[in-house]
């Protein structure tokens, strides 16, 4: 009787050990950012930032202020109002498509909101641009691309804002014009 119980119990414990080993979170899960999610037009509040993304679109050529951006790929154009929640902080915009990270461009300098600095209670309104591959809408994960707005640097265990974007549903325009970043709410 004891053997009849001991063998299944031993096998069960070994199976349990495998389960524990495989279900233990790795560094990627343990150190993941804390994402606050929302949709277009919603005010999304993280620990550091308050952001409202009004519109996103794909364009082949863009003018922001006096800067004209061309690309061999395609621009993801993001129109947003971003404010610091607690204290002065930088703004960092990036997009993940199927786990691949695409950073906001720094080619437009201070004309775009990305890499700008915001103070608490002083929102900035403007655009951010992320350069994506020309065939991005055909890539796996294009329907669930993630737009992340954070403070840059090491974002492990940090609070970030995320919006899921279906890139395949976006209209592709040949060109778009936007003003440079300005103070205040749009």
């Amino acid at each position: 009787m004891r053997t009849a119980v001991a063998v299944p119990a031993g096998l069960g414990l070994i199976a349990l050990a495998f389960g524990v080993a495989f279900s233990t979170p790795g560094d990627a899960q343990v150190e993941a950012s804390f994402a606050v999610t929302g949709g277009l037009g919603e005010q999304i509040v993280s620990e550091h930032l308050v952001a409202t993304v009004d519109e996103v679109g794909l364009v082949r050529e863009v003018e922001v202020g006096f800067w004209r951006g061309t690309t061999a790929g395609i621009w993801l154009l993001i129109d947003a109002t971003i404010d610091a929640r607690v204290e002065r902080t930088t703004v960092d915009v990036e997009v993940y498509v199927d786990g691949v990270r695409y950073s906001g461009t720094d080619r437009a300098g201070s004309a775009t909101i990305d890499a700008g600095v915001v103070d608490a209670g002083f929102p900035l309104t403007g655009s951010a641009l992320v350069e994506l591959p020309a065939d991005v809408t055909e890539l796996p994960g294009a329907r669930t691309a993630v737009l992340r707005i954070g403070t840059g640097g090491d974002q492990r265990l940090d609070s970030v804002i995320e919006l899921v974007i279906d890139l395949t549903a976006l209209e592709v325009r040949d060109s778009a014009e936007r003003e440079s970043v300005r103070d205040g709410v749009s």
Partner: protein
């Protein structure tokens, strides 16, 4: 004898050990993290506090309407005047001064202006950089831009690398 009565001491042990295990799990990171957080020490306007080797007194704190001062849109100007008397110099200690307000329902902070963005001019007799490195007394004046109408009762926070985690909160 009921099951509860038979196992009462094991149950008592569980009641003690489970919360105990929770507290022990907090020892490596949570308690050191909490201990390293800034510990504000409230000091009233006009009172003197000793901090980082200096006698520090907030002698003036005003919130000025940014409109007449041609401040940037949607900004008021906070002017803080602070008397420092460094009696025990701390070479290499950095000094950071911010304006703090919890009027939004949570605490917000603003850094001082390095160059005035309004028509308010700091008189020449005031220093505009704080230091704990040299013995002697000096008066400091700083300006801060805060959102218009949102900050009416601010405090000035002074922190020094030689004084942390204690910080002064003057108002």
């Amino acid at each position: 004898m009921t099951w509860l009565r038979r196992n009462r001491w094991f149950l008592v042990a569980l009641v003690v050990l489970i919360p105990g295990a929770f507290v022990v799990s907090l020892i490596p990171r949570w308690f050191p993290y909490q201990g390293a957080q800034p510990q504000p020490d409230a000091v009233a306007l006009g009172e003197t506090a000793t901090y980082s080797g200096a006698e520090i007194t907030l002698t003036g704190l005003e919130v000025l309407d940014g409109g007449p001062l041609n401040a940037p849109a949607n900004a008021d100007v906070v002017v803080a005047t602070i008397a420092f008397d460094v009696v025990d110099p701390r070479d290499g200690a950095y000094c950071e001064i911010t304006v703090v307000s919890d009027e939004a329902g949570y605490e917000r902070r603003w850094e001082s202006e390095t160059v005035s963005d309004s028509d308010y001019e700091i008189p020449d007799r005031f220093a505009q950089t704080c230091t704990f490195a040299e013995r002697g007394a000096y008066d400091l004046q700083l300006t801060f831009l805060v959102p218009h109408g949102q900050v009416e009762d601010p405090a000035v926070q002074i922190s020094s690398s030689a004084g942390l985690p204690r910080v002064l909160r003057l108002s």
